[in-house]
C-alpha cells in the first residue's frame, strides 16, 4: 500500500480531498478497488478528463462536463489528482 504524504498547496499532485473549490484537475492515481474505479469511469470520471471541484467536504462535489458527482470523503482521500493550474504554469 502506498503511503500518501500530505502535499503542499503548490504541488502538482494532490489528494482530491485537499483540492480547492473551483480548481480544475485530472485524476492521476487512485487507491480504489476495480469496481469503484469502473463505476467512476462509467459516470464520466476517466483518467484523462478534466473536472472542476464544486464543493469540498462530505460529500465532495465535482463537475465533469455537466455531470455533477458526489463522492464521500473516504473516496476523495484515496484519489490523487493532477492540478491543472500548477500543471499549466509548469
Amino acid at each position: 500500500m502506498t503511503t500518501l504524504t500530505r502535499p503542499t498547496t503548490d504541488r502538482e499532485f494532490i489528494l482530491l480531498s485537499e483540492l480547492s473549490e473551483r480548481e480544475e484537475a485530472v485524476v492521476h492515481f487512485t487507491q480504489l478497488d476495480f469496481e469503484e474505479r469502473s463505476l467512476l469511469a462509467a459516470m464520466g470520471l476517466h483518467d484523462d478528463v478534466t473536472f472542476q471541484l464544486c464543493k469540498q467536504g462530505q460529500p465532495c462535489i465535482i463537475q465533469v462536463e455537466a455531470t455533477r458527482l458526489g463522492l464521500s470523503k473516504e473516496l476523495t482521500s484515496k484519489i490523487i489528482v493532477r492540478r491543472c493550474t500548477v500543471c499549466n504554469e509548469a
Binding site: S38, A42, G44, D47, K55, G57, Q58, T67, G70
Partner: protein, 649 residues
C-alpha cells in the same frame, strides 16, 4: 456488422436505453402516455415499463428499462440490457432508441458505443438540447449522426418537441456502418468521443453558481438536515391532510354500493358473500388509495427535482454510523410506498453485503400497506385529537426507522460484519418537476395496487368470508325470544322494537362467527396473542395479515360486517366500534397501542419474503428476516400492552 436497411412494419418493438437522469422515462411517457404498464422484464427481476405508441400506420411497442452507465458491469441490470439487445430470453428489438443528454455527451457516448456494437438498428434521441443551448453549446446533429452512423434527433421530452421526427427516424432506421472503437479500451473510446465532440459541438459549457449554492445548502451538515426534515414533514403532512376528503368519498361510495347491492340481492349466502365479503373487504383496501396515490405522486415530483440524490448524501452521514451506505436511503424512501420495489431498488447499492443489510431492514420502514392499519388504530387511540394523532403517525414512522437502523447495526456486527462502502452518486440537474410524468407514474402504481386489491386481496376476503360463514351454527333460543319480544312491542314502541331486533341480530352474528372455521382458528391461536391483549377476532386479523398487512382491515371489515349492534355505517367506524364476545370494545387503548406497535415492526407480507429470497438468493435471509421481525414485534407489543395497561389503571 449488419449493413441492411430494415423496412417499417405494422408493429415494431423499440427498446429505450440510456444513462440515468437523461429524460428517458419522460420521453417514454410522452410516447405512450396511459398506454403503458410496469412489469418485470422477462426472466429477471428488473422492472421495465412497456407501452405502445402509433405513428401513421405503424404501431410501436416501447420498452423502457432503468438507466445504466455501462452494459458491461456485472450487475443484473447490465445483464438484462445486454440480453434484451441480443434477444436472449425475449424477442429481439427491431430498433433501439438511445436517449442521451446533450450536456453530457462524452459520458453518454460510452454507452452509445457499447449499444452500437450489438448491431441493432439505432436512433439517438438528444435530450436537454435546450439546456445545452442555454449553457452555450451548439450541436450539429447531422454531423453528430454521421460520426455514429445513425440518425440523431434533438428532442424535448417534456413538451414533445421532436417526437414526430423521432417516429420518422424510426421508420427509416438502419444499422451503423461506421467503424467503432473497442469498448474494452476506455482510452480509445474517450478519444473517439472527443473527436466527435470536437467536430460537431461548438461553444463551451457554462457552469451555474446557482446549482453550487443549492448543493451547498442541501448537503450542508446542519442546513441539509433541516431541509431534509422539512421536506419529509411536508411530504407526510400533505399526504395525511389532502387524502382525507377523497378517502371519505370512497368510504361513502362503498357504503352506498353495499346498501344498493344488498337491497337488490335476495337474503342468503350469495347476499352475505357479496355484501359482507366482497364489498366490505375491498372497501377496506380501496379507501386508502388516495393516500397511496399522493405518496407516489409526491415521491415522483421530489425525484424529478433532483433533490433526492442530495438527500442521499445527507442520510449517508447517518446511515454509515449504522453500517449502511447512503444509497440505502433511496430503497428506504421507496419502502414508504411498498417494501417490494424497495428491496428491488436495493440493487443500486453496489456492495453485496451492504445490499443484503439494506434488504433485511427495508421492510421496517412504514409502507403504504400499513397505512390502513395506522389510520384505524390511531383513530381509536386519539379520537377527535388530530394533532396528537398526527404526531402518533409520525411516531410510527420514527419507530419503524429506528428499528431498521438498530437492526442494521446489529446485522453489521453479527451476521454480516463490516462497514459500508463509501458513496459515489451522480447529482442530477435541478429542474422543475414534470406533473405529467408524476401523474402517469402514480396512475401506473395505483393500477398495480388496484389489480392486487382486485385479485389477491379479493380472493383472501372471499376465503375469509367463507371461513367466517361456515359451518352454520344453530341460532340460540335467546335470539328467537328477542325477536318475538320485538314484534310484540313493534306497534307501541318502534324504537324499543328496533333495539331488540339489533340485539337479536348481534347475538346471532356473534354466535355464528364464534362457531365458524375462522372463530375456531382464532381461538386456537389466541393464547399466543393473549399477552398482547388480542381476542380471537384480532388474532384472525393478525394471522391473515401475514399474507399481506392491508388484509388486516379487510379481515376485520368481513368479521364485523354483520354486527348490527354497531350503529355506524362506514367501514372504518364499524371496525372501530366492534365488540368482543364479552361485549367490550375490541379496540381498547392498550390493545390498540400494542397492535399499532406490532404492525410497525412485524414482517407481514408474503410477497416481500419471496422477493427477499429472490434478491438475496437464499431462503436463509428471508426466514431470518421473517423470524427476527415477528419476534421483535411480539416482544415490543407485549411491553407496550403491559406499560399502557399499567398507565391506564
Amino acid at each position: 456488422m449488419q449493413k441492411t436497411k430494415s423496412q417499417p412494419k405494422a408493429t415494431s418493438s423499440v427498446l429505450l436505453l440510456g444513462n440515468p437522469n437523461v429524460g428517458k422515462t419522460t420521453l417514454f411517457n410522452r410516447f405512450c402516455g396511459l398506454r403503458s404498464a410496469t412489469s418485470n422484464f422477462p426472466g429477471s427481476t428488473v422492472e421495465a415499463r412497456i407501452g405502445t405508441s402509433s405513428s401513421g400506420a405503424t404501431k410501436r411497442t416501447f420498452t423502457d428499462l432503468p438507466g445504466l452507465y455501462t452494459l458491461h458491469a456485472s450487475d443484473d441490470l447490465s445483464k438484462v440490457c445486454r440480453n434484451a439487445l441480443d434477444g436472449i430470453d425475449c424477442n429481439s428489438p427491431e430498433a433501439v432508441l438511445v436517449v442521451i443528454d446533450a450536456t453530457n455527451l462524452r459520458r453518454n457516448l460510452t454507452i452509445v458505443n457499447e449499444i452500437l456494437h450489438h448491431g441493432v438498428p439505432c436512433v439517438i434521441a438528444l435530450s436537454m438540447v435546450d439546456i445545452a443551448q442555454k449553457s452555450g453549446l451548439t450541436i450539429d446533429t447531422k454531423k453528430f449522426g454521421e460520426h455514429l452512423g445513425c440518425q440523431v434527433v434533438g428532442v424535448h421530452p417534456r413538451t414533445g418537441v421532436g417526437l414526430p421526427e423521432l417516429h420518422k427516424a424510426l421508420d427509416n432506421i438502419q444499422c451503423t456502418q461506421v467503424e467503432l472503437p473497442e469498448f474494452e479500451k476506455p482510452k480509445e473510446v474517450n478519444n473517439w468521443a472527443n473527436e466527435i465532440i470536437a467536430s460537431s459541438v461548438g461553444g463551451t459549457l457554462a457552469t451555474g453558481t446557482f446549482t453550487d449554492r443549492l448543493d451547498k445548502t442541501f448537503t450542508h451538515p446542519i442546513l441539509g438536515l433541516v431541509v431534509f426534515a422539512a421536506v419529509m414533514a411536508g411530504l407526510f403532512w400533505t399526504i395525511f391532510t389532502l387524502a382525507t376528503v377523497p378517502m371519505d368519498v370512497v368510504n361513502l361510495i362503498f357504503g352506498h354500493i353495499g346498501t344498493a347491492v344488498g337491497s337488490v340481492l335476495p337474503a342468503g349466502d350469495i347476499h352475505d358473500m357479496v355484501v359482507d365479503g366482497v364489498i366490505a373487504g375491498i372497501a377496506g383496501i380501496v379507501v386508502f388509495l388516495p393516500q397511496i396515490c399522493l405518496l407516489f405522486f409526491l415521491i415522483g415530483l421530489l425525484e424529478d427535482t433532483g433533490y433526492l440524490a442530495r438527500a442521499a448524501f445527507v442520510m449517508d452521514r447517518l446511515l454509515r454510523k449504522f453500517g449502511l451506505p447512503g444509497q440505502s436511503f433511496v430503497p428506504f424512501l421507496s419502502a414508504h410506498a411498498c417494501a417490494i420495489p424497495a428491496i428491488m431498488a436495493a440493487r443500486i447499492v453496489p456492495d453485496r453485503r451492504d445490499r443484503i443489510a439494506t434488504i433485511l431492514v427495508a421492510p421496517f420502514f412504514s409502507c403504504s400497506a400499513r397505512l390502513p392499519v395506522y389510520v384505524l388504530l390511531i383513530g381509536v387511540l386519539f379520537i377527535d385529537q388530530p394533532l396528537i394523532g398526527g404526531l402518533a403517525f409520525f411516531g410510527c414512522y420514527v419507530l419503524g426507522a429506528l428499528a431498521a437502523l438498530f437492526t442494521a447495526l446489529l446485522v453489521r456486527r453479527t451476521v454480516i460484519p463490516g462497514v459500508s462502502r463509501p458513496m459515489m452518486l451522480e447529482l442530477p440537474t435541478y429542474k422543475w418537476p414534470s406533473i405529467r410524468t408524476a401523474v402517469l407514474n402514480t396512475i401506473d402504481r395505483a393500477w398495480v395496487f388496484l389489480k392486487n386489491a382486485g385479485t389477491v386481496i379479493l380472493a383472501i376476503v372471499i376465503v375469509l368470508w367463507w371461513l367466517s360463514a361456515y359451518p352454520k351454527v344453530t341460532i340460540p333460543d335467546s335470539v328467537h325470544a328477542l325477536r318475538d319480544q320485538a314484534s310484540v312491542v313493534a306497534t307501541t314502541d318502534i324504537v324499543e322494537s328496533e333495539r331488540l331486533l339489533n340485539q337479536a341480530n348481534s347475538i346471532e352474528y356473534t354466535t355464528q362467527l364464534s362457531g365458524s372455521f375462522a372463530g375456531q382458528l382464532g381461538k386456537f391461536f389466541q393464547p399466543v396473542f393473549a399477552p398482547l391483549g388480542y381476542d380471537w377476532k384480532l388474532t384472525v386479523g393478525v394471522l391473515t395479515s401475514f399474507a399481506a398487512r392491508e388484509v388486516f382491515v379487510s379481515t376485520l371489515a368481513v368479521l364485523t360486517a354483520g354486527d348490527d349492534n354497531v350503529e355506524n355505517v362506514g367501514v372504518i367506524d364499524k371496525i372501530e366500534h366492534a365488540k368482543r364476545d364479552n361485549g367490550e370494545r375490541i379496540f381498547n387503548v392498550p390493545t390498540a397501542a400494542s397492535l399499532l406497535v406490532f404492525f410497525v415492526l412485524a414482517m407481514q407480507c408474503l410477497p416481500t419474503i419471496a422477493v427477499t429470497r429472490r434478491e438475496t438468493g437464499s431462503w436463509n435471509w428471508a426466514l431470518l428476516q421473517l423470524g427476527y421481525m415477528t419476534v421483535l414485534a411480539w416482544v415490543a407489543s407485549f411491553i407496550t400492552f403491559t406499560i399502557v395497561t399499567m398507565v391506564m389503571k
